[in-house]
Structure formats: C-alpha cells, structure tokens
Amino acid sequence: MEFAQRIDRQLRQTFEIERLDVVDDSAKHAGHSGAHPLGETHFRLVVVSLDFEGVGRVARQRLVYDALKAEMGERVHALQLSCRTPEEDAKLGV
C-alpha cells in the first residue's frame, strides 16, 4: 500500500481533487519489464480536477507525471491515466 498511499497523498497536495481512483494493476504485469517482486509498479488512475480545465490532454498527463516524479523514480514503472475535468467525468460516467 505504500506507493498507492503516496500517490494519493501527492496528487491531493498538487491538485484540487474532485475524484481520485488509485487502482494497483501490478499483478497484471507480473513478469513484464518494470515488474517488482513487491508489486506497486503499475497503477491505474482516474484523476478528476477543475485544474485540468483548459489544459490539453498531453499537458494534463505531464502534470500528473511531474507530481509523481519521486514515485516514478523509485518503484512505479507506468501509470494508466485518465485525467478529466468534473464535467468530462460526468459525461464519461465510468
């Protein structure tokens, strides 16, 4: 849980969060490059924040990767990211 908690904390510190899902998908990637015996290498995130309003998709993900630089440097190998504004989130409905 260590890295999941760190990701959660870090993103809440960086963005005005409306919704944040942090799902550990590491088991799906066991044995792939970047896998670690202790897991917590691959996460699926849904980040919903007004901070993404007017920001392009590439830029949004860069903001998230920037916020999680330390975690990415240590254990986390890849993130599956969905960065949405509250309005987009309501439309997507997942």
Binding site: R57, Q61, R62, Y65, M72, A78, L79, K91
Partner: protein, 113 residues
C-alpha cells in the same frame, strides 16, 4: 541523453509519415496490450500509419521517451506532432475527438461516426 542521431531519425520519421506509432512489437504482432490498443483504434478507423517497433532498437526505445518527454510507449504522432499515449488515444477515440483531430489534420478516416 540519447545521441543526436536517434533524435534526428525520429524527427525524420514523424515528418515523412502522416501518422506514426512507436510501439512494442509490430502492427501485426503487438507485444504489449497498450500498443495493441492503439493499433486497434487506428485499424478500426482505417487510418494508414507507420508502425515502429522500439523493441528492435534499445537506443530508440529510450530515445523516443526523451524526444517527447513522455515516459511510456506507445506514442502516437500525427503530422509531426505528439498526440498522446494509449490512454489519450483511447479516450479521444471514445469521445470522437480523435476522429475529428485526424480529419482536421487532413488524415483520411473511415468509420468516423
């Protein structure tokens, strides 16, 4: 830093091809689920694209990440511009934004609706 030749090669490739995907494996045999997803979307849209297998070239595999300051593969480039990775491509496809963006850039798209 990846050496300049890798950078030049990428720049050349994304200029020469309207749509380029840097991926793990080939369009016919993707070797990663995320790369497969991007290829699937492009195939569905009937878009002509150039697939580049980064697994064949460790220099390219690292170089492409530096080139775009983007930490993951696959990466989709349209008319020389980095459009996004797997999540962005999938989400844009879902909302129809991908189809619109491609058409605006003069790329032929089937099944656009």
């Amino acid at each position: 830093m990846a050496d300049q030749s890798v950078h030049d090669r990428i720049q050349q490739e994304i200029s020469d091809n309207d749509v380029t995907v840097y991926m793990k494996g080939t369009p016919t045999f993707p070797q990663c689920g995320f790369s497969a997803a991007v290829v699937q979307v492009l195939n569905h849209l009937g878009v002509t694209y150039h697939g580049v297998n980064v697994l064949e070239d460790p220099g390219l595999r690292e170089g492409i990440k530096e080139f775009s300051s983007w930490p993951t593969i696959p990466q989709l480039y349209v008319k020389g511009e980095f459009l996004g990775g797997c999540d962005i491509v999938r989400e844009m496809f879902q909302t129809g934004e991908l189809q619109d963006t491609l058409q605006q850039k003069g790329i032929e798209v089937q099944n656009a609706a």
